[in-house]
Symmetry: D2
Subunit: 347 residues, 4 copies
């Protein structure tokens, strides 16, 4: 069974990761790549300034780029769209595809907190996908829109989900984020060499709200935000890929570090083509300096979460977690939601 | 009035900063530089692999290095010693100097939490210096030993001291520390290029305990640790100098961000030669991406603290702070304690 | 004697360096700062995203930015203009100022090789300034236009000038250039972290031609290019400031490394306010790993040249040289030409 | 057909690459790992601080490390040894293995220029292997010692070999070398962040002599060094892996850039398991900014050479070349020589 898919905004940094990840995908077949009007008509090779460290797949290199509109992809006969458009563009363009009946798995940040849009990590809250029924009722769409969270949120939430059994009450998290999270030209070299920047616009609010939606309960009609207090502080540092996060957690219970490690290690993954066998790899006491971005970001092909440094504190516990921000945190997240949409019969 | 001073361990990274800071000092005159036995007898230029970005002062370059022992400096007629010895060496060697009657201002980490050793930042807790009387009673020393805290602790504690009026109860702090904090060879390039390391041995415990001693109350006989809970998480990142810290604070009161900023800005500095006019520089809402290590580490010649990013959170407030780790956080901290010792009549 | 000066393109990276260098200048008084139309009317503080590591001088911060046109600066009563406009803009705008009678010392790359435009480094070829007479004859300008060379050319040419006494015949040079040479946003962090880029558009041709003009003989009517063959290869590397260059030289004579070092060390500087006492600092055999960008770029306040690693080769000799690319290589170069213009009576 | 192999010095940086490359090798089976006496008896996992970005192969992790001596490996029944010992150790230890009859493919720098030791790159000068006969005659060894060149030499020599048909006369080469070339702790972070170091001890002489031996003619009794003049200048820059080199070449003929590109592209590879299908990948005029270390170092699994930037100069031509310094430039080079030794019947 093959599913024909398209990528909206295929030439950018996340778009290139989609193409890399779709190469040799067991069920998805890339049938359309879109970009802005001035790239339409070019081959993908001409339109994209390819930056990924594997070559452009030959067949994609020669594909014709079409404009990002339902008309543009009308001939491609696709069943599922992945969107990595800038959020400003996405908020204008995505509705047109939904009205035209397309199923869209989107990495763009618009509408993530809308009450009728599922914000989903397949291993964490697949049941939220049922919000699509609410969405269709309210908006009258034939299509369906599902979002994945922000890259910094995705890195942390699987660990919080694994630990929620201990009665998660408060979270203080600090991020050390890679430059690729800002896109190819987002951080200049003069800003970041021998430096760190303790501010990423809007990022802290995303972590604080998206995490509570992801961990929230689906009632059948809506998602009730998780009750934990979450406070985030976000930094950009001179790493290329891989967001590292330091998390302080407080629980109703008093779990030991060993119990926390075990809960993360044994947290169940999903049965989807791109899900890792073990979702969260956990380093023990004997390797306190892990995870590290350069050494651990490719765990499970960049689709896994790596944790470590679990210790008690005066207020509860702390640990570190890490994920590849443009794979698990962006293109891979949308891809996985696409696989879930197929699995659940929405495609 | 001139005070003759010596540097114990003068050839290392912190020793070199001492020499840079003592050049043109208004009252201190460098009269002795010590190192291990195999450097004794060489000129300073020969013995030190000079790495500071200003040239070796000419007179220091030609000074003879002597062995780190009371005999070694016997002819130098010094009144005050600065110590930047590795803590393992310092714990062996410092007592000999104290027994010989020297006043020692030490950056080494040994004995910082000893109940009869003052751990002092002159602008924060100068009254703790009176522990010297207890120390002399207990140890029978003619000399006096004062310590400054760890570089990561120094960066944060002035801001906490400024905010303590609001009833400081809990602190969660994450550090982004520069490689120079580990000494010249402490972090290899292969470890840190395109990477971050979420572990610095012993650093978190230092921040958690030293901060409570610095903020503690001196009763006349001892220092009562401050009652706040402090939890720290420490990271090494690819910056050369300047420790950046993200701090989450919770108070008995509910101060506004504006009140927090004002409390930091108006916190009084000390009237010592190396103290900044304004101890804590605070960036406002209009510059949320400051402080940054490369842009702000030289504030007040590297002796100031720079803060910013003050905001409310779901649990209290958060802000960022920064200091130059080898100036304010090491050599400059000991130097300032030396100035306080002179001011208070211990030298 | 005070000279009122203006900066064309004052808000960019080189413009900011001009402002830093003009602060406390003994004879120049900053009287006008220009930028594009959308910045006109703002204060300098509002218009510039200040990135230099010293604060904006207070008086400059509150200056009103005017449009880059003769009308814009008409009220400022300036005697000398420094230009750091992008070359595309400069080639359009500079002629208007020259027709209006202004003397312009320009860092922009347009017209550097024009036969009636002096390309000058004051310590190397001050006599080329007399081309201004040719320029005035040919163009009918009351003003005068002088250019300084490209940053990578400036780094090398003083050393070649010092060695030309040995009969310079061939030069092969490779550069390791800092990111600041491309302007604040010229090199993205994703391009350069853990990377090097062996191409800088147009840079190699600039080095090959400008160097021969600078070393050429002024006949009274024109500059005859120096006869040496010059081949350059240019690279961008992850350094912030300071261009390092590896130079292979071949001579008619067979000078020893000692003779080469001595010729560079004893090369005469100029008697201008911003010229270093010793133009070229030379490291000897005992420090073969110098010059290095981070350790040596601030020699003589960034206005000096630093050389080292002089050795014989199978084909002649080789050495390394280094200069601060945005000080000696850009703003400082124009400033120095301005000082020469004053000295020679053109202002 | 399986060949049992051992690694001398298996725990270091190059040793780890050997292990990575031998995992899944079609014919070599790892049977012994040696290290210094204090590691002997430990498992490989315990003895090695594993730094490669793929996990330790499970079977290797549990192998017992033995001492680096013929006695140490006596029970392992190996047919071929790879050596990545420090050259000081290798010059003491390698002869013992040769006297004991082992065939050793060594990456260590000792003896590379010895007249009876083949210095070999299988695609370039496989016929030099016949020096083994001379070696056996002179030294009375049953075993055989073959060396591969230095990492910076290997990067350049395949391109020179491809271009030698045009009458190679002179070479000026500048290197931009990655920190991994100095071993795990060879370059500290404080030395190299925001910096470059224009000196690597002994490296320039290695490039100048080894390249002429590799390109030299084997007469049946000796290798006559190639007659070209070679001058090298070597730099360390802040890259992790991948040596980039800028090469200026002069020929008896006057080949066009197109002819140079074609000669490199069509240069024949070897028919060995680890040789790339196309030895030299060449970028054309349309991608003048390639090769780049981060983007191109993994070409052909790190075993290929990548060239680009071919242009005419005033003196001949120039181009850039790049190879992965710890794969093609070290462990992979020895491995390939091992494959050649098997192919040629020495094992």
């Amino acid at each position: 069974m093959s599913v024909r898919v398209g990528i909206l905004g295929a030439t950018g940094a996340v778009g290139q990761r989609f193409i890399q990840l779709l190469d040799d995908h067991p069920t998805f077949e890339l049938a359309a790549v879109t970009a802005s009007a001035d790239s339409a008509g070019k081959t993908y090779r001409e339109a994209a300034k390819w930056r990924v460290d594997t070559p452009i797949p030959d067949d994609v290199a020669e594909m014709e780029v079409v404009e990002t509109s339902p008309a543009g992809i009308a001939d491609a006969d696709v069943d599922l769209l992945f969107s990595s458009l800038p959020s400003g563009v996405a908020s204008e363009v995505e509705p047109a595809f939904l009205e035209a009946g397309y199923v869209v798995s989107s990495n763009s940040s618009n509408d993530r907190m809308a009450t009728d849009v599922p914000l989903t990590i397949p291993e964490i809250n697949p049941e939220h996908l049922q919000l699509i029924e609410v969405q269709r009722d309210e908006r009258g769409w034939d299509g369906a829109l599902v979002k994945n969270p922000n890259c910094s949120t995705i890195t942390m939430v699987p660990t919080l989900a694994a630990l929620d059994e201990f009665g998660l009450e408060r979270v203080h998290v600090t991020t050390l984020q890679a430059v690729s999270g800002a896109g190819y030209s987002g951080v200049t070299s003069m800003e970041i060499i021998d430096n760190a920047i303790p501010h990423i616009g809007g990022e802290e609010a995303k972590m604080e709200t998206e995490s509570r939606k992801l961990l929230g309960e689906f009632t059948g009609a809506e998602v009730r935000l998780h009750g934990a207090d979450v406070a985030a502080s976000c930094n950009r540092i001179p790493t290329l890929d891989g967001h590292l996060e330091n998390v302080f957690v407080e629980f109703a219970d008093e779990p030991s570090p060993a119990a926390l490690r075990e809960a993360m290690r044994s947290f169940e993954s999903a049965d989807l083509p791109s899900s890792p066998d073990q979702l969260i790899k956990v380093f023990g006491d004997d390797e306190p300096d892990r995870p590290q971005p350069r050494l651990d970001r490719t765990y499970a092909g960049g689709m896994g979460i790596v944790a470590g440094g679990v210790q008690e504190t005066a207020t509860g516990a702390k640990y570190n977690c890490l994920a590849h921000n443009t794979i698990r945190g962006a293109a891979g997240a949308s891809l996985l939601n696409g696989e879930l949409l197929v699995e659940e019969g929405y495609v």
